[in-house]
């Protein structure tokens, strides 16, 4: 290794730490442990894909402002993409979460991966909730006036005012998506760092084994 690569700079240290924790072949693998061969594993990447749809459609809605989709057929379609993307996002994420639970996927120093995923799930609920508040229709009027009671009773409502459209809009399009994106990003990097959790030990079901290639 050259002297430049070993330079005791902040940048150099960060690079060495990053490459050490996540070498390219681990970050972008082209092989996978053989046990990763169930449909359950698909729901993680499907959740990510739905998140991309939600972010993209949300970004288009943000381009024209919060009232656009009420008066434009194209805007209404983009809003529909945002809604259905969200529904799919949660469906995939819940199946993914149950799958990881049934596999006890927190084993082997993967506790932080579970914790980040669980917090991402809860943060996603908050993000979707603020989306319902900023629809500017009957639904948002009703949801905000009902939800205020729980938030007020827990002391949060005084600072997180669901009746304040401007505040909720900023939470929905800036703060919470950033939190969710960081949590999901960290979660995925931890999965790549630790690898997919291997099968639980135990006797397999009786029966003849297939031919092994």
């Amino acid at each position: 290794m050259s002297a430049e690569q070993q330079a005791p700079t902040w940048t150099g240290r960060l690079r060495r730490m990053g490459v050490g924790a996540l070498p390219p072949e681990r970050l972008l693998p082209d092989t996978q442990p053989v046990y990763v061969s169930s449909w359950v594993y698909v729901f993680g990447v499907l959740t990510l894909a739905a998140f991309v749809v939600v972010l993209t459609s949300g970004a288009v809605l943000a381009l024209a402002g919060p009232s656009w989709w009420h008066v434009s057929s194209i805007g209404h379609f983009v809003n529909s993409m945002h809604l259905w993307g969200t529904e799919l996002f949660f469906f995939f994420m819940v199946v993914h979460l149950w799958g990881q639970f049934f596999m006890a996927a927190w084993r082997g120093r993967r506790t932080l991966t579970w914790i980040m995923g669980a917090i991402a799930f809860l943060a996603s609920i908050g993000t979707a909730f603020t989306g319902y508040l900023v629809q500017q229709n009957l639904d948002s009027q009703w949801i905000s006036t009902q939800a205020k009671d729980g938030l007020n009773a827990s002391g949060i409502g005084a600072f997180f005012n669901v009746l304040n459209f401007g505040q909720m809009l900023m939470w929905h399009v800036v703060l919470l998506p950033l939190v969710v994106a960081l949590l999901i990003g960290g979660h995925v990097l931890l999965v790549r760092r630790r690898g997919v959790c291997p099968p639980l030990p135990g006797r397999p079901p009786a029966g003849p084994g297939p031919a092994v290639r």
């Binding site: 991309v52 529909s80 579970w114 009703w142 009786a206």
Partner: protein, 333 residues
Amino acid sequence: MSSTDYPLAPDPTVEWSGATRRYDILKEAVIATVSVTALAAALSLLFSSPDLKPVTFQGWAQAAPKDFLVTALSELDGTSGVATYGPPYNNVAGASQNIIGHFSLESLVGAQIPINASIAFVLGPLSIPAQSSPGLRAALAVYGHAPPAARRAWTAAFAKALNAARFKNGALVGSFPAARYGPVPVLMSDLFAMATSGALDGALTSTSRFYQTNFTKALLFLADGGYLGTLAQMQNLLGEQWGMMNETGNYPGQAWLWLYTFWYQVPPMSTSPSGDAQVWAIMAILSLGLILLPFVPGVRALPRRLGIYRLIWRDYYRVAEHQEQSASGAPRT
């Protein structure tokens, strides 16, 4: 295949060194994104998305004039939901919800969003047309200088009159002598006129800084009335209809809130005056339990007991067992 390709009890703490298969993470991501985008687009084209118009004060006053006036009167005399709410809108003794015993987080936080219902919803908005209406200006002055007992007597009498009130051409019909009702009929009549004209919608949301994005006052006033709830009931949005997780029309709403909504359906939360605080406390504990699930005794052992993992990894176990039998030379069953 070596003897360690399919270990029956792989160590999750060490890096996998068993059998692998070819995998293209980028290809998988692209296919997933294209597929989910197509699915979302198909659902959008097929089902679109709901967008029921919001309620306005103009619409409310025109569609349910008595409900509007009864609500406005309760804001004026301080008996409305907001006027008696407690923190964060005002400090009303005994109004706060307690999480457990007498412990109340909202009391600790206090009135951070102070709202005086009579001024915010009635007297304040009326001060705008009063600038060009001497009669309304005089009525506001009389009400403002009257002792509390006189105000209560006027509003109580007008509340009774409203029970039997009739409306014709969008106006309250009847005789309301000042001796009995004081200036209240003038105030209510002018507020009603503001509402039916649409002026109240603007008055409740306008600020001295021109731009505004805060609808707290207007939404609180709307929520105090019965009209918004009637419309919500038609859309299956009420609390007893699991409303928080529903969406207007026949659309899936926030189904992920099912557990939160569930607690509102069962006693004591469904009947307790501190039901909201109790539900939030339960959900806070359960959320913490989900986050820290790997540390929760009993729950963390459930996956092994349930055995669903055997289904997920059935192919792996089949090969692993076959490999073990081959290695030990035992006869296959």
